[in-house]
């Protein structure tokens, strides 16, 4: 069976002007199965966000193959959508118009756009805020818009780049529960990048630990916890055992 997303021996070096080259990825391998929720954890700067941008089609790898359903990724496409770390909302657009961004660029007619965006406003729980501008929303609400915008174009894969990193701890917990609910409803493949081990375990089917830069896969953990998952699960021995194992894999990679 062809994997939904496949990375084979991916290497990428940034060459910023006025500075030495930065090797972000080296010999990176990954398989993301259809419908799977896979998280990548790794130290800061290990290239995990870089890989998401390669899958998104915004940057190209220097060598290796990055495939979507067996076909090389040549650029952005409507089969993939990203939920951005700092939300990435257009501040001059209302909630509804932000959600419609992808549909607009896809050429969907205005009436149809409205129907779709209204549906996703409901799904992410933002009814009543359709006409609000981003600065009038809390961080959690902004990321709900970001999520709705990514889902609106009906992509096969949702790429999430530390989507809850800018939120406070409680909002983050609520958003994790919300994400799982929406994931069950929307049935997407998710590739999720995070710093937080607990977040990764709670959400994922599998968790990949990456090495420090230049990053590649260090170890993959299967998270065989039953679904649907609830908050109480985080205090079970199984959960904590996983947390400990992943921490052991990760801690040698962290340089302070």
């Amino acid at each position: 069976m062809v994997a939904c997303i496949e990375g084979r021996n991916v290497s990428l070096t940034f060459r910023p002007p006025n500075r030495g080259p930065v090797r972000a990825l080296q010999g990176f391998d990954i398989d993301v199965q259809d419908g799977e929720f896979l998280s990548i954890v790794g130290p800061s700067g290990c290239g995990k966000s870089t890989f998401l941008n390669v899958v998104l089609g915004l940057i190209k790898a220097d060598s290796g193959d990055v495939l979507m359903r067996g076909k090389p990724i040549a650029g952005p496409g409507t089969d993939r959508a990203m939920v951005f770390q700092e939300f990435g909302l257009l501040p001059w657009r209302t909630v509804l118009n932000n959600i419609e961004l992808g549909l607009e660029l896809k050429g969907v007619p205005a009436g149809q756009r409205r129907d779709v965006s209204q549906r996703f406003v409901q799904m992410v729980g933002l009814s009543g805020f359709e006409g609000h501008y981003p600065h009038e929303l809390s961080g959690g609400m902004k990321q709900r818009v970001g999520l709705a915008r990514a889902l609106a174009t009906d992509p096969d894969v949702l790429l999430m780049d530390e989507p809850f990193a800018a939120l406070d701890a409680q909002t983050r917990d609520v958003m994790q529960v919300e994400l799982l609910r929406i994931w069950h409803e929307a049935k997407k493949t998710v590739l999720f990048v995070t710093h937080q081990i607990e977040e990764a375990i709670y959400l994922s089917d599998r968790v990949m630990v990456m090495t420090k830069r230049p990053g590649h896969a260090k170890k993959i953990f299967a998270i065989d916890l039953p679904r649907p998952r609830d908050y109480e699960m985080r205090v079970t021995p199984e959960f904590n055992e996983l947390k400990l194992q992943i921490w052991h894999a990760l801690k040698d990679e962290i340089t302070v």
């Binding site: 998104l56 409507t78 990203m82 700092e86 990435g88 257009l90 600065h135």
Partner: protein, 282 residues
């Protein structure tokens, strides 16, 4: 935001509690002082020839507010003003419009393209460093004393503030947002339309405000030094005939038009920035 607003409201109400009788005066004080000083100046000016006997020679160069008001009234009542006003307005309007139509897209292009920027930048730097008035003889030589020399002078003056401000705004575009729209399949045109231009809007409006000032100046200069008709021509001719009240009338019309245009830009700015958070400092 709402927090700061509450604080502001709380401050205001505690102010009122401390001095309940003063609150009305507090609110109208700036406006009252401003209007009051203007009225005082006009009254003094009006009284001068009544209190002091001016020599016949001095009277030639002198006028009073009431005379100017009368002349203004006459110019509008007889319709005498409409032809010069129309000529000046069309020179201003066409020149400004042209500078927006050229300056805005060109600013976006050179802001987005390194190559174009390197090619065009020397011209912009040179042109912008040169006082606009030095083009006047050449423009008059080429285009004569009619409408189009005025349009060109206005255009040269108004182009650069718009062009340079648009360019600056475009260079400051949010790279994350550009990546966001690119990830949804945006091409260069969509990037400009969806991110770059809205993001640069405060710069563009500031440029427009400058451009309006330059455009008015362009009209005045062109009409003072070489035009067949217009408000400026009317003023110069009146000055030659010692009609000081007519000169003042022209001056007032220019001042009022400039104020009105500035107010229009402000309204435009407010309409375009409804999405922006309200700052306490404003």
């Amino acid at each position: 935001m709402s927090e700061s607003r509450t604080i502001k409201a709380a401050l205001a109400s505690s102010d009122e509690l401390a001095a309940p009788g003063k609150s009305l005066w507090h609110r109208i004080e700036p406006a009252a002082l401003g209007i009051g000083s203007i009225v005082a100046l006009l009254v003094v000016w009006e009284l001068v020839p009544r209190l002091i006997t001016l020599s016949a020679g001095t009277k030639l160069f002198f006028t009073t507010p009431s005379q100017v008001a009368g002349t203004l009234w006459r110019l509008f009542a007889t319709g005498e003003i409409w032809t010069p006003l129309g000529v000046s307005a069309s020179g201003f309007g066409l020149g400004l419009l042209l500078s927006i139509v050229v300056g805005l897209p060109l600013g976006v292009l050179i802001g987005r393209s390194r190559t174009l920027n390197d090619m065009i930048d020397p011209f912009i730097t040179a042109f912008n460093a040169t006082p606009r008035l030095v083009f006047l003889p050449l423009v008059m030589l080429w285009l004569g004393l009619g409408l189009w020399s005025k349009v060109l002078i206005v255009f040269i003056g108004a182009l650069f503030p718009i062009l340079i401000n648009t360019y600056e705004g475009v260079r400051n575009a949010d790279k994350v947002l550009i990546n966001v729209v690119r990830s949804f399949g945006a091409k260069e045109w969509d990037i400009a339309r969806l991110v770059v231009v809205p993001n640069a809007m405060p710069y563009i409006i500031a440029g427009l405000r400058l451009a309006i000032g330059r455009a008015v100046l362009g009209v005045v200069v062109a009409e003072f030094f070489g035009s067949e008709s217009g408000l400026g021509v009317m003023m110069v001719q009146a000055a030659g005939r010692y009609q000081v009240d007519v000169v003042f009338s022209g001056l007032i019309i220019f001042a009022v038009l400039s104020l009105a245009l500035t107010a229009m830009v402000q309204i435009l700015e407010q309409r375009l920035s409804r999405w922006r958070p309200v700052h306490v400092s404003e």
